[in-house]
Symmetry: C2
Subunit: 367 residues, 2 copies
């Protein structure tokens, strides 16, 4: 549990807010506070700890040797959004990374995973990635999810406890309950031979358009690190061009640096094709934004997803409106379709819309 005194301090420094959703009242850490990660949620009967940050290595060869003293498991990192699923009373709920009860994921849980595992082990919290073209949060989706969304378990936590179940315990649960999970690529060491194998996996992932891998040490310390393919970095640049003004300073420079280090490490030649890919990622995204603005006087992206209950679709729109800074959320369509409620909505990027409006009508910029 978390000391009441600590919660009081966090409340004072506005690191904790009180939330209500699906009839549940709880406290949500909206920022890291001391040892408590952002997204930690304190309910009446228990705490669901936030999913901790995982550091990124930019160079496999030195990074794995530096970070891991024991063998580690390599798992695929799926390009979606992170949820923590738990049982409360008779209900099942999914928390977003930030600690909101996600109306979309919570609504769709019965389609995504059999939660018998939580009936028989109600103290467990399932950590999973939800990914696919029909999600309300991110534009990217993995190549192996062709429609809607799918869920991929990658960790278990226990209520009231930070930290994860061991790899062995996790795999047992996944197998016993037949849970959908991320691909586990094997147990490796940071020997030169193993690093060669890991590089081969990542080169293949890059070609297949997969995001990357997470390394998890097979030890009580359970040290972790992630590594992302050049493909995923390029996609990040491309899909975010519309929202360019909203991103933190290092967003682009960091990704370009990662691409260059990926190439160096994988022995990929600097060639016309790669130059072209990076240039295209920036330019096409911006072109699209400008063309869209010229036609419709706003820069936006349309999201589509399906719900079991209409009320959850409305709750999602409300949550997005509340939590998206400088983005206007606008419903396009909400109607029954093949047994679901089909929601379509736009995220209008207000900063980009404002800047393009100013520039295209001939405004001055001082810099």
């Amino acid at each position: 549990m978390i000391e009441p005194e600590l919660v009081k301090q966090a409340l004072k420094s506005k690191k904790v807010r009180s939330e209500e959703a699906f009839g549940l009242e709880y406290l949500r850490f909206n920022d890291d506070f001391k040892d408590i990660p952002r997204g930690t949620a304190i309910f009446k009967d228990f705490v669901v700890w936030g999913y901790p940050h995982i550091g990124r290595i930019f160079v496999l060869e030195t990074g794995l040797k530096e970070q891991f003293k024991a063998p580690f498991w390599v798992e695929e990192k799926v390009d979606g959004y992170n949820v923590r699923i738990f049982k409360y009373g008779d209900g099942y709920y999914a928390l977003s990374r930030g600690g909101f009860i996600c109306p979309f994921t919570t609504d769709r849980l019965p389609d995504l995973i059999d939660l018998k595992v939580l009936d028989e082990n109600p103290e467990l919290v399932i950590c999973a990635e939800v990914a696919g073209p029909e999600n309300p949060y991110i534009e990217e989706s993995p190549p192996f999810v062709k429609e809607d969304v799918r869920l991929f378990v990658f960790d278990f936590m226990r209520k009231n406890e930070p930290g994860f179940l061991s790899h062995r315990e996790k795999v047992e649960l996944i197998e016993r309950y037949g849970l959908p999970s991320v691909q586990i690529l094997g147990r490796f060491t940071s020997s030169d031979e193993d690093i060669k194998k890991i590089k081969e996996i990542l080169r293949r992932f890059d070609e297949e358009g997969r995001e990357g891998v997470v390394f998890k040490e097979d030890s009580p310390e359970n040290r972790r690190a992630k590594y992302i393919t050049s493909y995923a970095n390029l996609m990040d640049i491309k899909v975010n061009a519309k929202n360019m003004l909203q991103l933190p300073p290092e967003y682009y420079t960091n990704r370009i640096l990662r691409i260059v280090l990926f190439m160096l490490e994988e022995g990929i030649e600097r060639n016309q094709h790669l130059y072209e890919e990076l240039g295209r990622a920036f330019i096409d995204g911006l072109f699209e934004a400008i063309e869209q603005y010229k036609k419709e006087h706003k820069v936006y992206r349309t999201f589509r997803c399906r719900f079991r209950k209409k009320e959850n679709a409305l709750a999602l729109l409300e949550l997005l409106s509340k939590t998206s800074k400088h983005i206007q959320v606008k419903q396009r369509r909400l109607e029954p379709e093949n047994g679901y409620w089909r929601l379509e909505f736009d995220k209008i990027y207000l900063n980009m819309t404002g800047l393009l409006g100013h520039l295209l009508k001939g405004g001055l910029v001082y810099d």
Copy 2:
């Protein structure tokens, strides 16, 4: 003149600092303060006003119509650094944009311009760009300066007065005293026909590797705006890769947006070549930084310039050390060569050096 009360207020808010250089004591505005631009310098007998900001238009067609009500002159914008030259007692001095007396420019004035104009008109301040491969400040240089530096006059101010002499007065002075000046491309209006001509100039400038143009209204308001070629934006990205972490957030995104708008306006097709150029600008710069770090354990760039007096070279190094944040300045060589003092020094980019050091030895980054 500037009201003493205003100077007092500025001193209180730390917008003014006291400086000493070349035996002159003065007050320097290190930031904009009310109507007083950064770089304004208050000497015992007079004030040299700062060179005001010129806004940038991103779109010629609408920008010129929106910004200019009267005909305007189009002048070449030379890619160098901005100085204001004035006479004090028997000496001539050059102030940098930020209001420092530049030891390099001041030292080299006799090589760059005949200052008889200031002897006969001591109330004048010459505004000029100094550009070329051997300057101590910026990596870029215009295609028409093959060695050392050259000076290009583009405005005159009067001591104690903000604002500029009229175009007619400027041209008269330039002609009477045979001063080196920027290229004046003509007097235009924002008619469709003239905009077509201006676009042609900029397309040619882009192909020739020139930076862009400044528009100056031929009216008492003397409204101004600048416009930059796609070439110059690409070069900015390329040469700054080594110092990537030091630049403000919008540095890159802004330039990419400008490139895309330039293409749209000039009817340049999105093609493989352009994609490639942008990708290359980012990737080659970073590759070079990484290769340099691997070999020498630091990321730096070497600058070369020549001085008439050794003491001025040393003063420049001291000024750069004092004013460059997160950059270490290191002398390589200072010795007589062909009647000058040849200075070579490195600017070591500490942030990039630190980050690459961390990443290449396998460090984690949390983001």
